[in-house]
């Protein structure tokens, strides 16, 4: 895994999790994309507080945070999965299916105290199905999770049809959005932060976390190094399913509505946040703090522009532009560096022209 500077920063043709392609050059040229995103969050928040009326109000901060809980939750396991060079597109469908099962069980008269843990187990099972297809049958995760995206969302419609269950006890639905006493910050931020810390520590400070990077960088080498690639990936998909169902429970209570189409399309928002956070789609590179910062950045921009009366849908242009800049900028920097080097030293490799 030497940083061979004669290797092109990123092959022109490579769409998905081909583990052998990475952007070492881009990584080294950038020197901490996650720091850039953190700075961007601070600047955006400061600008918004200064320019947008009502942004800095306590109630608005509370809404901003509540709005990003679901994406932040799902982004945690998604980061780990993409670092290993896989992807999970079924997360929003797991969220939706969990939501409908929760609604249906509630209609059947079950107590919420029993429904909630059951739903998390269900999410873990759904994730395990993804994991088995990917690790046991050796199928590409992109295709498998497109399949389960359709399958789980379809099952959600089978469970609840086009009905909605909305009569959850008011204590639960207002309780989930309640702030920490004396602050505008919702209490759910505490477990969310703890969970983010756990994921961060696992990814960055344990042998398991380091093995995830090795898998993403070179699955073959990881296997030779004695890393249990398949078993680890399977558990990642199980975790992703369980966390997605947690997000489903939160979503259902927060909006007091269990529907089959809850959070449709959320998978792309989550992946956009993870990639914007500096995680390479080919695996092997990226940090959790970067992803958390990216989730905050997208949430802040969305909230500020909404307050400034920019239509919510038009904002998607901003998401898209940020995403493209986040991948194009490091490559351009790398290309420029290469050109500089080439003009000072005789070329050791033929120029790579596309």
């Amino acid at each position: 895994m030497a940083r061979d500077t004669t290797v092109p920063a990123s092959p022109a043709v490579a769409a998905t999790a081909a583990p052998q392609r990475r952007q070492w050059l881009a990584g080294s040229a950038l020197g901490g994309w996650d720091l850039t995103v953190v700075v961007a969050v601070v600047l955006t928040a400061a600008l918004a507080a200064w320019l947008v009326e009502g942004f800095a109000r306590g109630s608005n901060i509370g809404f901003l945070l509540l709005d990003m809980v679901a994406i932040a939750l799902v982004a945690l396991p998604m980061t780990l999965i993409i670092v290993t060079g896989e992807i999970d597109l079924s997360v929003a469908s797991i969220l939706g299916l969990t939501s409908t099962v929760m609604g249906q069980l509630w209609l059947a008269g079950w107590p919420l105290e029993l429904i909630l843990p059951l739903c998390v187990v269900l999410g873990a099972v759904l994730g395990a199905v993804n994991g088995v297809f990917v690790t046991v049958f050796g199928l590409p995760s992109l295709a498998v999770t497109i399949g389960t995206l359709a399958l789980y969302r379809g099952l959600a419609f089978v469970v609840l049809g086009s009905r909605a269950v909305a009569d959850f006890p008011i204590g639960w639905t207002t309780g989930i959005t309640a702030p920490i006493p004396g602050t505008p910050i919702p209490w759910v931020m505490i477990p969310l932060t703890l969970l983010a810390l756990v994921f961060g520590v696992v990814l960055h400070a344990t042998p398991v976390g380091r093995s995830l990077y090795v898998m993403g960088a070179n699955a073959e080498a990881a296997r030779f190094a004695g890393i249990a690639v398949e078993r680890t990936k399977l558990w990642l998909f199980v975790t992703s399913g369980a966390v997605s169902s947690l997000a489903g429970l939160f979503w259902t209570l927060r909006y007091a509505s269990a529907r089959a189409d809850n959070a449709s399309g959320l998978e792309l928002s989550v992946i956009a946040a993870v990639l914007l956070g500096g995680v390479s789609i080919f695996g092997g590179r990226g940090t959790l703090p970067g992803v958390v910062a990216a989730v905050l950045l997208l949430g802040t921009i969305r909230n500020a522009l909404q307050l400034a009366n920019v239509s919510a849908e038009a904002l998607t242009v901003v998401t898209g532009l940020l995403l493209i800049v986040s991948v194009v900028a490091p490559n351009l920097v790398a290309m420029a560096k290469r050109r500089l080097k080439r003009s000072t030293a005789p070329p050791s490799a033929p120029p790579d022209r596309a």
Binding site: P8, S10, P11, A12, V13, A14, A15, T16, A18, L89, F133, F137, G138, L139, P140, L142, A143, I146, G147, T148, L149, A150, L151, Y152, R153, G154, L155, F157, V158, G161, S162, E220, A260, S264, G265, L268, A272, L275, I281, F282, S311, E313, A314, L315, T316, V317, V318, T319, G320, L321, L322, L323, I324, V327, V328, N331, L332, D352, R353, A354
Partner: protein, 339 residues
């Protein structure tokens, strides 16, 4: 992936298996037709078949374009947004100039789509960034532009010229015109992929980009062209959507991208490039569309449709895996296989 040698030197055993792959999905479609027709013979009536073809048209055109891109080991997630944008643009065009000839409208739509494809292809080929990320970005950008342009406006069928809307329902010898357009796209794209050098090169690129580059194939240019062609086809699909439905707003085509990829994958196009055909993709699109109609005829809860599509995708990639392993064994003994 051993696809390139498989295709290039016409390995007969492998080719037979390839054919078997498309045969499988045709059989699945035939089975679906058989079961449904047995339950209700009217399923095979002229009107029912016409509706079926009409319903599959847009998905087919999109799946063909997507196949061109996936074969090169890329992907284009922005097609739903491109379709939405061009459909709305078509509506706007007819609002501004109701006398625009239909062919001009089609050309404008395809050109607009091609411009979107130029952006995608340019970023992927020139800036060398992964297609999944770029097209996820442009998915949001094109959709955002669509919303910004529409600003909540909805264009209704009454605002559109009659002649244009008639295109959506017109038939030639009993076959819907829109379906004929889709068939033409399939035939032309299929011919280009199999008979032209540059078409064959798309497969070579998808099988092994580095080897393709070393053997002198202009990888960047070919990939760029695949994206432009896909954009143009998505643009064409947008115009067809406008003709068929007449009612247009900024949400048209939302979420279509994964359905399109699903159609291609069900049709046997390998998600990591190098194999698959536009014929398979077209049958895949037809199969996905037929399931919906069949379930209604069979009086199955229509909510099962999506779940069945999911199962079908899993079955299709599972089958591909089995075939790939078998081909691999035949071609090079029992060597290790990388997905």
């Amino acid at each position: 992936m051993t696809t390139v040698d498989r295709v290039a030197n016409g390995e007969s055993a492998a080719l037979r298996l390839l054919r078997a792959r498309e045969l499988g999905i045709v059989l699945a479609l035939a089975l679906l037709f058989g079961v449904t027709a047995a339950a209700n013979p009217r399923f095979l009536s002229g009107q029912s078949l016409r509706d079926l073809l009409l319903g599959a048209t847009i998905l087919t055109v999109l799946a063909i374009g997507q196949t061109l891109v996936i074969v090169t080991r890329n992907v284009d997630l922005s097609v739903g947004s491109i379709l939405g944008l061009t459909a709305f643009a078509t509506g706007k065009l007819f609002l501004a100039a109701p006398d625009t000839p239909i062919l001009v409208a089609i050309a404008v739509g395809a050109a607009l789509g091609a411009v979107c494809g130029v952006v995608n292809g340019g970023l992927v080929a020139a800036a060398r960034v992964p297609a999944l990320v770029v097209t996820l970005g442009t998915l949001y950008i094109y959709r955002g532009i669509d919303h910004w342009w529409a600003a909540g406006q909805q264009i209704n069928a009454v605002d559109m010229p009659r002649a244009f809307l008639r295109l959506g329902t017109a038939t030639v010898a009993g076959v819907p015109v829109l379906a004929l357009v889709a068939v033409a796209v399939v035939v032309v794209a299929g011919w280009c992929l199999s008979a032209y050098r540059s078409g064959r090169e798309l497969y070579a690129i998808g099988s092994d980009p580095d080897a393709a580059r070393l053997s002198g194939i202009p990888v960047g240019r070919r990939v760029f062209l695949a994206f432009v062609a896909n954009g143009a086809l998505a643009g064409l699909a947008g115009v067809l959507h406008a003709a068929r439905f007449g009612t247009l707003d900024a949400t048209v085509g939302t979420g279509l991208e994964l359905q399109v990829i699903a159609a291609a994958v069900v049709g046997g196009v390998a998600i990591f490039g190098g194999s698959g055909s536009v014929y398979g993709a077209a049958v895949g699109a037809l199969l996905l569309t037929t399931i919906g109609t069949s379930l209604a005829v069979l009086r199955v809860n229509p909510f099962w449709q999506r779940a069945l599509v999911g199962l079908l995708i899993l079955a299709a990639i599972g089958l591909d895996r089995v075939l790939a392993v078998r081909i691999d064994r035949r071609l090079r003994g029992s060597g290790p296989h990388g997905a």
